[in-house]
């Protein structure tokens, strides 16, 4: 199959990561974190985690392509 699934996965989670961590940084200290997520800026932290995951997937996809 000529289409590497890691590409869309990596892309989607990178976009999610950027969007959600960016939103988390912009809304830092907002009341909603106290209300919902025990005072943790979960958007920022989990957004960053998703960004790392997405970037890793993209990297793997790239390695897979150059291996061929």
């Amino acid at each position: 199959m000529g289409f590497d699934i890691r590409l869309p996965i990596g892309l989607m989670f990178s976009v999610f990561g950027l969007l959600i961590s960016g939103y988390g940084i912009a809304t830092r200290g907002d009341q909603m974190y106290a209300l919902h997520s025990l005072g943790i800026d979960i958007n920022m932290w989990w957004g960053l985690a998703m960004l790392i995951f997405g970037a890793t997937m993209l990297l793997l996809a790239r390695q897979g392509r150059s291996a061929k």
Binding site: I20, Y23, L35, H36, L38, N43
Partner: protein, 598 residues
């Protein structure tokens, strides 16, 4: 009241997810040239992808919502549905059955039955399977529409139509490959969406120790300790019924014979990959209880407002009690953040003086409780992904069985490959249209769906006996298999019709034949014994009739029966990638998990 208001960011996340799902279908369209590409992904997919898809196709709403609900009701015992009810069967299908499915070059499970037995056995299986997949897809659609309506106030019709159209678009364009690719995407989405939920929930209750203390019921935190007698555990089952009914008959019947999951392995790029598919799936499957059961357990013991001191009192009351005009969910009379079930007049349903809880809302309520705007979008995506992967799995399995086993088998045997590819796409549309109709039937006539699901359970229960004898006993004949299946189904109906769980009214729950021969302590116990009964009958009848009828020539059975097939040889792969090694690792880890949570 809790009434979540997704913000623009949440809708943006959902929108991006939909774009990716559709994009995968569009990109894959150009690879769909033959019917084998469409139905079998050209048998070209690596094992890790088919493995995750194998897991994800089954990861429908039933799992994410249902296992959370069961966690809230029964606690960690729910993990039996994984550790007893899935992993052993997944190891078995990978090691022992895949060589026949993949090696016989059958394109579907019913087609294997035709090769091994005869036309009528295949027809029986193909038709019942096709009807079942379409209806279960409809039931899952209905569940999703209802949930999104209740939780977010979304329009029921819109939720159903939009999700059906999206699934239709990507399966229509890219066939099985598209379904598999999206299942992998959905797998990661569900895992990544649920990890922060479990983290925040556990942190709030003070970790596993804190959760145990708050549950205050030792039976909720042990999987085996209280299985000695049905009266001492919340499920009302005993270890024998659990092991034989769930662990053997139901679990092997599902994981080893259901085309929905087996189809993923059939798309693998080699025999070794096909065998590794369920084994690779077993690793994450084993850990899923922590992702889907824990949120349900936590939901029963937390309150709607954050308890850790940082909470601002007015803010807390804002999320708990909104204005009376709001159509949010009321928690009055509920337990933790699990709301009571409402009857059609919006009043809590009562039983024995207590409100009946709507356990299906346990996990969704956790999402709106712990996720702020932003992550809420991700959580909702994970929820929708689980619904859609279940739907897509059913759709792709349906269109293959319809096209290969019913249309090509009985209606038009000699058309061109192009025609079958076209038929596959037409069946995709048709299947989804019928599913949508089924979703509306489920909404209007809840009882019809209960009856149908009961009938499906009767049909499925004996299946594994047929496959077991077919694959491992060369003397088994077509007449034997067919009579075995029919009598097994009848035995299931008979058993169900003559027994009743204590406290239930005769009808769909049992005893519809008028007399009650035996009372079971719970519905689950009754289901397990119905399955045991059906399996044993099918097994015995198949053997008896087979011995009375003429066996097939051994030469015809080569590649279809264990004793007449060469052992599969693994291609040149590293030792740690070999199916047997994976199986040993899986089973060791499984024992360890059972030991830790015994």
């Amino acid at each position: 009241m809790i009434h979540p208001h997704p913000g623009w960011i949440d809708y943006a996340v959902i929108g991006i997810y939909f774009m990716f799902v559709l994009g995968i279908g569009v990109v894959l369209k150009k690879y769909m040239k033959t019917s084998a590409d469409f139905f079998l992904s050209g048998r070209s997919i690596p094992a890790w992808i088919t493995g995750l898809a194998f897991l994800s196709a089954n990861l429908g709403a039933q799992e994410v919502i249902g296992m959370g609900a069961s966690g809230a009701k029964y606690g960690i015992m729910t993990s039996h549905f994984y550790w007893v009810g899935a992993i052993p069967a997944m190891v078995f299908v990978g090691l022992f059955m895949m060589p026949f499915y993949y090696g016989s070059r059958a394109r579907s499970v019913p087609e294997y039955l035709k090769l091994r037995f005869d036309e009528k056995t295949r027809g029986l299986n193909a038709i019942s399977f096709a009807v079942m997949t379409v209806f279960s897809s409809g039931v899952s659609m209905y569940a999703m529409g209802k949930l999104l309506q209740l939780l977010l106030g979304w329009n029921f019709n819109a939720a159903i139509i939009v999700s059906a159209l999206i699934v239709l678009a990507y399966t229509f364009l890219g066939g099985l490959t598209s379904a598999i690719y999206n299942e992998v995407l959905q797998f990661f989405l569900i895992v990544i969406g649920f990890i922060p939920l479990v983290f925040l929930g556990l942190k709030d209750v003070g970790g596993w120790t804190g959760l145990k203390a708050r549950l205050g019921n030792d039976a909720m935190v042990h999987s085996w300790k209280y299985l000695g007698s049905p009266n001492s555990n919340p499920m009302g089952v005993e270890w024998f019924g659990m092991l034989m009914g769930l662990g053997f008959v139901l679990s092997f019947g599902y994981w080893c014979t259901d085309f929905l999951v087996v189809q993923r392995a059939m798309a693998a790029d080699s025999m070794t990959s096909a065998r590794r598919t369920p084994l690779i799936a077993a690793f994450p499957k084993m850990l899923f209880p922590f992702l889907v059961i824990l949120p349900g357990m936590i939901a029963g013991v937390v309150s709607a407002a954050t308890m850790s001191g940082k909470t601002n009192a007015t803010a807390a009351s804002a999320i708990v009690s909104q204005s009376a005009a709001s159509d949010g969910i009321t928690l009055d009379g509920g337990k933790g953040i699990i709301p009571p079930k409402l009857d059609e007049h919006g009043r809590p349903e009562m039983k024995d003086g207590n409100a009946v809880l709507d356990y299906d809302l346990a996990t969704p309520m956790m999402l709106v409780r712990y996720f702020p705007s932003g992550l809420l979008g991700l959580g909702l995506c994970a929820l929708m992904a689980s619904f859609m992967s279940g739907m897509a799995g059913n759709t792709t399995a349906f269109n293959s069985v319809w096209t290969y086993d019913i249309y090509q088998g009985y209606i038009n045997k000699t058309a061109s490959d192009e025609h079958y590819l076209w038929m596959g796409r037409a069946a995709t549309v048709f299947g989804l249209v019928v599913s949508v109709a089924a979703a509306y039937i489920a909404r209007e006539f809840n009882n019809i769906m209960d009856v149908l699901q009961l009938v499906f359970a009767f049909v499925n229960a004996p299946l594994f006996a047929t496959f077991l004898l077919g694959m491992f006993w060369k003397r088994a004949t077509g007449h034997g298999a067919f009579c075995g299946l029919l009598s097994g189904t009848c035995a299931a109906a008979l058993h169900h019709g003559l027994t009743l769980p204590t406290g239930s009214v005769p009808g769909v729950k049992g005893a519809f034949l008028g007399t009650v021969l035996h009372y079971y302590p719970s519905e689950m116990a009754q289901n397990f014994w119905t399955a045991i009964c059906a399996w044993t009958t099918c097994f015995t009848v198949t053997i008896l009739i087979s011995l009375l009828t003429k066996p097939r020539a051994e030469a015809e059975l080569k590649g279809l029966v264990y004793s007449l097939t060469d052992r599969p040889k693994d291609e040149a792969i590293e030792w740690y990638q070999k199916p047997v090694v994976l199986a040993v690792v899986v089973l060791t880890a499984l024992l360890a998990l059972n030991f830790i949570f015994w």
